[in-house]
Symmetry: C2
Subunit: 114 residues, 2 copies
């Protein structure tokens, strides 16, 4: 089985660094494709393809303005990612504690850790 599709979910979509860069760029404000091409120095077809992926998972929204397409980041779609990482937040502190605990256990050198 191959890897999951980039459009299968937000996690897969942001796995690509170019797409993360695009998201950061479009978070500030709406921009036409050409601006992304120039600013991030990517080939135009490449940008269009990345935007397609981001659009499919709802990470960006688009609207047409004349010949140009204006894209902007839909920050709300990043929330699931944020929330998932947040579930680990409480363990950051715990792990420091564990290091301390192990250090103490070592000092006493009697506990068989089982």
């Amino acid at each position: 089985m191959p890897r999951a599709t980039t459009t299968s979910d937000v996690f897969n979509a942001v796995a690509e660094i170019r797409r993360r860069e695009i998201l950061s760029y479009l978070a500030l404000r709406e921009r036409p494709v050409g601006d992304i091409v120039v600013t991030l120095r990517l080939a135009q077809p490449s940008v269009s393809k990345h935007l397609r992926v981001l659009r499919d998972v709802g990470l960006v929204r688009a609207r047409r303005e004349g010949r140009r397409m204006l894209y902007r980041t839909n920050a709300a779609a990043i929330r699931p990612l944020h929330e998932w990482t947040e579930t680990f937040e409480r363990f950051w502190g715990h792990q420091l504690l564990r290091v301390k605990e192990r250090a103490e256990a070592k000092t006493q050198k009697s506990d068989s850790t089982k």
Copy 2:
């Protein structure tokens, strides 16, 4: 060019749902491989391979205890991900505002938005 390696960074490593499940499971406490196999109902080789990826990017730590290998999640390695998503946090509110603004603009139906 193919997709980046799963071990290229944390973003790619967590793109796989099985690996996210493993991380959640190992966040609570240290576990041997066999427990993951039984609990998450995955083939043993599959679990070993996922653990290998997670280890390579520092998302889990391992230590041997007799025949068993005990793995645990290294929550700190998830921080970069958490911090990246956090940069978008301030836009969640802004976007709600924008929706409101657009709704109001529509009501007045006079502004040509440019």
